[in-house]
């Protein structure tokens, strides 16, 4: 059992769960009034990007994958979130 | 096809130099496909301007004007003459699925999907547009109904094509004879999943999910057209690379091998 807890995958999972709760809390506290809030949006989108990256790297084992796959997946996360944030600020 | 003895391939090399083209039926069927799709595109876009679709929320006089345009009738005539070629293009896909190691159930599902799809996705909407132009005396409310019926049947006909492309994609993925590349199977699956996404056209009257919307029409259409093009190229390669010994009219020498493969592919 201890091996399960010390397993790097479990640590990644703990991190993911924690930041999920943090991002929900940010939305609840900072966005309770349901007004435009750039801080909240930037924070939750960045957290989502980090989470996506963590899952891809560790759970999907892209860490050990060939370079092209690393590049494609990271590129997807980067381009997607850059576009999302860019569009968000452009639409304000 | 892996176990097919080497001898037939050698004799296939010889037979290709002979003037007789054994795959003539397949080639004729195959070359009707680009003809049909080009005609289809020409009729829908520059002739009748049915596509890109008009807005579901355009004002009534616009719809009435559009439904009265004479070009819709001409489009209708061309399509009624040519729509029989759609089955031929589907038959080309079916032929390749038949060569795969999968159960005939796949090609039968595709066949039934093709039959239902041709009716609801082509013949019916076509006549809806044709009827309005045929008799200009109809009330605007009737014309509006035909307009909605035409576009919704054309863009919102999901189930028949979905089952067809699902069977096609699955057959490619499960196939062990390597008739079509595996990635084409996955591509087919995205294609039909995005086609499923057209479901909101039945709800939205404007915006990205209406029948002329960014998501339901343009995105799905981009994927579909590129997919169609690639499938088409893959089918071309598949027909081309089919060994002569595997043909139903294979020369008599390697007959045992041919029989064996036929019985296996249609098991």
């Amino acid at each position: 059992m201890t091996s399960l807890i010390r397993n790097p995958l479990t640590i990644v999972w703990a991190l993911l769960t924690t930041i999920t709760i943090v991002s929900s809390w940010i939305a609840l506290e900072g966005g309770a009034s349901h007004q435009i809030n750039t801080t909240v949006t930037t924070a939750v989108l960045l957290i989502a990007a980090v989470k996506a990256h963590l899952v891809i790297r560790h759970f999907m084992e892209v860490r050990h994958a060939p370079v092209w796959l690393k590049a494609t997946t990271s590129g997807w996360v980067l381009v997607l979130f850059a576009l999302l944030l860019g569009l968000y600020f452009a639409g304000l | 096809m892996a176990e097919a003895p080497k001898a037939p391939t050698a004799s296939a090399e010889q037979t290709t130099s002979r003037p007789k083209n054994r795959k003539l039926d397949q080639w004729i069927a195959f070359w009707t496909v680009p003809f049909f799709f080009n005609l289809f595109g020409l009729v829908f876009v520059p002739l009748s301007w049915m596509m890109p679709p008009r807005s579901p929320s355009s004002p009534t006089p616009h719809i009435v004007d559009f439904m009265h345009s004479h070009n819709l009738l001409i489009a209708c005539v061309i399509l009624t003459l040519a729509y029989g070629l759609a089955p031929v293009s589907n038959a080309c896909y079916l032929m390749q699925v038949k060569r795969m190691s999968v159960s005939p159930a796949f090609r039968y599902s595709m066949m039934i999907g093709a039959i239902t799809g041709a009716i609801v996705g082509m013949l019916f909407p076509m006549f809806c547009f044709g009827l309005g132009a045929f008799r200009p005396g109809y009330r605007p409310s009737v014309l509006m109904m035909l307009y909605d019926f035409g576009y919704l049947a054309f863009i919102g006909s999901l189930g028949c094509f979905c089952v067809m492309w699902m069977a096609f994609g699955l057959a490619i993925i499960l196939d062990e004879n390597k008739i079509l590349p595996k990635w084409l199977g996955y591509y087919t699956i995205w294609q039909y999943v995005t086609e499923l996404m057209a479901a909101p056209v039945w709800i939205a009257k404007s915006g990205p999910f209406a029948w002329n919307g960014l998501m339901t029409f343009w995105f799905a259409m981009t994927l579909y057209v590129s997919w169609q093009f690639i499938v088409y190229l893959c089918i071309y390669k598949a027909i081309k690379s089919q060994p002569e010994a595997e043909l139903d009219n294979a020369p008599p020498e390697p007959l045992p091998a041919a029989l064996e493969t036929t019985s296996r592919t249609s098991a």
Binding site: L16, T20, S24, I36, T41, L87 | F219
Partner: protein
């Protein structure tokens, strides 16, 4: 499978970007509609999927190490968590639909139902794949590790897509 995963990432990417673009045109509508979503179930579902993903990853590692018993136990756990997702989704959707919030309500809800619905289809397919992975592990002899890995990759992809959806639909302001 990676070909499929990347393609799916791209297709969903188009949907995400489209959502953001149309959101930019009408912030108020999206914000006020967002207020009517159930953030609690959304957050619980995120954790459920993450946990399920963890067990899939652990199960894959066990299968690779040749530990079939452990692998099976972990995949069963992952399946249980995964199966909770559609159930929770129903608890989220049914009150919303009975409150009159349907895809026809407005553009936000159209996006909401289309994207979560499309994602739900992926989840259901993932559950089917997971059942096949379990069957593969249960079969006598050495399991096909490549199939286990393929199934796992698919499931993690479903997880990644949900993480983005969660941020876009529930959290951002």
């Amino acid at each position: 499978m990676w070909f499929f995963v990347i393609g799916d990432f791209l297709i969903f990417g188009v949907y995400f970007v489209g959502y953001m673009y149309f959101r930019g045109q009408n912030h108020e509508l999206f914000l006020s509609s967002q207020a009517r979503l159930n953030l609690d179930i959304g957050a619980i579902n995120t954790v459920v999927l993450l946990t399920s993903s963890l067990f899939v990853a652990l199960g894959t590692a066990a299968a690779r190490a040749g530990d079939k018993v452990d692998a099976l136990r972990r995949f069963w756990t992952a399946l249980a968590f995964g199966a909770a997702f559609p159930l929770l989704k129903m608890f989220e959707w049914i009150p919303e639909i009975s409150a009159g919030l349907t895809p026809g309500t407005n553009l936000f809800f159209m996006y909401y139902y289309v994207m979560t619905g499309m994602h739900l289809c992926h989840v259901l397919l993932g559950l089917v794949i997971m059942c096949f992975v379990i069957r593969n592990l249960k079969a006598p002899g050495t399991p096909k590790i490549s199939f286990v890995e393929t199934g796992a990759t698919y499931w993690h992809m479903v997880d990644v897509l949900w993480l983005v959806l969660f941020a876009l639909l529930y959290l951002m302001r």
